[in-house]
């Protein structure tokens, strides 16, 4: 830390660079304010109003907590999320460790498989889980008479879909290490365990903490899994659904949303604390760590990775089967007829095209905004309060249920006097909402990548009188290209699969495939819904493969410094 915090302060170009960076930060803060903060404040302020819009202070909160059914949801949400987080982090850390620090074969394949849950709309995994463990399920007996509808289903479903989120952050955290530290540790005679505890873990600490909070918040705010498979197990997120969609009680919905924001605020402070103890893993003098084969470790890790990969493929395979079986569970002969959407939703191919457009725009503009933003937050040395504020803003979206964001956008963008009203009902508003909705994980990925670069790069270029944007463009961006691509693909895939925010914002000209999946399932067309969802999975999968090819190429051409 010492060398990182006090770079030489003699900077001839200080004035211009700082103005530019400050200006950039201001633009970013304004952008986040318009697409996130102001809509949310308008929405959450409703928690202090009654249904007629009259200010009533905290009485909604009092009413909420006086109902035992409601307050029980708080405890349920907490323990289920904590349990799921524990499982995900343990598995994802082992998996990421295997992919970055061991010599197991088929690393590329395992990486692809692990990302597969990202490709699927959450409904797909829920359908698969019911077919696997439901009352007619193939492996029903494995639950020892317990029901899949309830906490068990929620935990399994949540672990499945949040696993890749944790993995992305942990792979980024583990993929750069300074080989000199390991050599030093070895030559000092430390055991492997001790090296793990004193070198590996501290190096990945920032990633671990981020991943923990990301997963915890994702689980606690997700309503998709508990809605489909949670039975009547009460959680905060399903409570929002009941209030907003069941009863159109936005005021109570706002109350629950505010309660859900607490973990994000907590995450912010813990992360700040962790950051003060974080040192850059890759100093400008670092030598990239290269794992050597070690049979015992490699076999054990291969076992772990294979089991996890098999589970993921099993769930996806079941979903694929669901889209092909004629009439579950009474007629299991296979058919492709569910892929003919002409008798389900007429516009679904148009919707599919719209979804692809949305995904492309979101990926392009999203990664641009997020990476530039993260750079300014991490590397600029000006306007400290503005940086802190921007960073806090970037962490909020993760804790905001999509439904709340969607409604907040209606209230803000559709207000009669709003000059941005022309965006309402357009593709642009869907892009803005989707970028805002998935901002946090992208921001954290970018930050994790940026934190691994020694600030000396900036100091050196400053002393060489190079303006910061040139360093940004010629050093930082190429070094972080894999992370930028990861962010792009993350946006793309989420834009393909997301429902909760955009369901309130699409117009007749911008209907989406993911919404069609939900509606088909709602209409009782489970198999066509699974089929459409598989189509989304396949599309996202193809894009994912292209991305892997591109990453490989980039790695060879820009990441020589890691070798």
């Amino acid at each position: 830390m010492a060398e990182a915090v006090t770079p030489p302060r003699i900077r001839p170009h200080l004035g211009r660079d700082e103005w530019l960076m400050g200006g950039g930060l201001l633009v970013l803060a304004l952008y986040l304010a318009v697409t996130l903060l102001i809509p949310l404040v308008i929405m959450l302020a409703k928690s202090l109003e009654d249904r007629q819009g009259v200010f009533v202070g905290l009485s909604n909160f009092a009413q909420y907590f006086s109902n035992p059914a409601r307050s029980g949801a708080v405890g349920n949400s907490l323990w289920v999320s904590a349990l799921a987080t524990l499982i995900v982090i343990a598995l994802a850390f082992g998996y990421a460790y295997a992919l970055t620090r061991s010599c197991i074969p088929f690393q590329g394949l395992f990486r692809l498989v692990a990302m597969a849950p990202l490709l699927a709309p959450s409904l797909l995994s829920a359908i698969a889980l019911i077919y696997l463990f439901g009352n007619q399920g193939i492996f029903k007996g494995w639950l020892f008479g317990e029901s899949i509808y309830g906490p068990i289903g929620i935990v399994i479903g949540s672990v499945f879909w949040t696993f890749p989120h944790a993995l992305i952050i942990l792979i980024t955290a583990l993929s750069s290490a300074d080989a000199r530290l390991y050599e030093a540790s070895e030559s000092l005679g430390a055991t492997r365990w001790r090296t793990f505890i004193t070198v590996t873990l501290p190096g990945a600490r920032y990633g671990l903490i981020s991943a923990t909070f990301v997963v915890f918040t994702l689980v606690i705010t997700d309503f998709g899994v508990p809605k489909v498979i949670g039975g009547q197990f009460n959680m905060l997120a399903t409570d929002i659904y009941k209030q907003v969609v069941g009863q159109q009680n936005f005021q109570m919905g706002a109350v629950v949303s505010l309660i859900l924001l607490l973990p994000a605020v907590l995450a912010f402070f813990v992360e700040r604390w962790a950051q003060t103890r974080q040192s850059s893993a890759v100093s400008s003098r670092a030598v990239h760590y290269q794992p050597k084969p070690r049979p015992g470790r490699d076999w054990a890790l291969l076992g772990l990775v294979s089991v996890v990969a098999m589970l993921i493929l099993g769930i996806l395979g079941m979903a694929a089967f669901a889209s092909l079986a004629k009439l579950w569970p009474y007629n299991l002969s296979l058919t492709l007829s569910h892929y003919d959407f002409s008798n389900a939703d007429g516009g679904s191919w148009t919707s599919y095209g719209n979804s692809i457009r949305l995904a492309l725009y979101t990926a392009f503009f999203g990664s641009l905004i997020v990476f530039a933003g993260a750079y300014l937050v991490e590397k600029s040395r000006v306007a400290q309060p503005l940086r802190t504020a921007t960073h806090l803003l970037a962490l909020i979206p993760m804790a905001v249920p999509g439904m709340v964001l969607g409604l907040a956008y209606i209230f803000f963008f559709n207000a009669p006097g709003n000059p941005l009203n022309f965006l309402y009902g357009s593709m642009t508003i869907l892009v803005l909402a989707t970028i805002a909705h998935f901002y946090t994980v992208s921001h954290l990925t970018a930050l994790t990548a940026l934190k691994q670069l020694d600030p000396e790069f900036e100091s050196v270029s400053a002393s060489l009188k190079t303006p910061f944007y040139r360093t940004f463009w010629r050093v930082t961006t190429p070094m972080c290209l894999p992370a930028i691509l990861d962010i792009g693909i993350y946006f793309f895939i989420n834009a393909m699969t997301t429902v909760s925010a955009v369901v309130f914002l699409y117009s007749p000209d911008t209907t989406l495939a993911s919404v069609a999946v939900l509606n088909m399932d709602d209409a009782g067309d489970t198999a066509p819904a699974a089929a459409m969802a598989m189509l989304i999975v396949l599309t996202a999968g193809v894009v994912r493969l292209l991305h892997t090819g591109l990453s490989h190429w980039l790695h060879r051409h820009t990441q020589a410094w890691r070798r």
Partner: protein
Amino acid sequence: MKLSKLAQALWCAAAVAGFTTVVQAKTELLVYTAVEADELAGFKQAIEADYPDLDIKWVRDSTGIITAKLLAEKANPQADVVWGLAATSLKFLADQGYFQPYAPKGVEQLDPKYMDSAKPPVWVGQRAWIASLCFNTVEAEKLKLPKPTTWQDLTKPEFKGHVVMPNPNSSGTGFLDVSAWLQMWGEEKGWKFMDGLHQNIAQYTHSGSKPCKMAAAGEIPVGISFAYRGAQEKTKGAPIDVIAPSEGVGWDLEAFAITKGTKNLGAAKQLADWSVTRKANELYNQGYAVVAMPGVAKPVPNFPAGIANLMIKNNFEWAAQHREAILAEWAKRYDSKSEPKK
């Protein structure tokens, strides 16, 4: 020669086409609806055949989402017409002054119990959406369950853990059932029935069609749902019986209303006029057994026979007034038991 003649003809046709599009600029009508997507294409075609100037643009989603969207847009409404949405939702929005009262031409031919009592009416019903049981005969045989014919049957001990119903706090269909039981039997007996039913419920779902889907897939043998969904599942081949319990069944209407302040009032009125015609009612009848115009309805395949006679005398006013209190009481009694029972 021939070629040039053809070109000339094409040219003329293009000019005429261009001319007519200029003259009859179509009016785009933004219509919010909760009608199933597969029916919408047919409705659009039929409407535009009778009113060629109209260009219907649907925004379709589930009842809860559409109602929430409408309410959130209250400050600056986007929809021109709300069409095929639950009357309960329309009433809720109407009470906030969302709609423009209008008596469509020929509305007097409809059964007055299917529309708003004000003159002119704020909303007009199209067809009824009726509660029913979906009963899986294959699973019932495995479990030796008798076929239920009344609501009270469902409280018998042999049905323990074999019944699903929608949570009224998340689903309009769930509320429709609770409201019907309370209206039929009064507060005391109604709640007592639900206490008994609760003992047998395997799970409360968040959507009204889910219980019937679960029954159709054999997850749970008995689903409390609605007749349209049951008939659809049965037609698709699911081994279920669709049953209307003999004490009486709750119902709601799919109805329409014109948004106050719409820029396309004339076009909106055309759609309203079309929606009460005999032709419209015949189309409504393709999926639903009970429609607003008397004498039109023909039996719909797989609908419970005689279901129209079992529809309770539904007091929408009473249901709307007591909704919040009923939901709170329901949540207090049944929602706090969070663990699903086996």
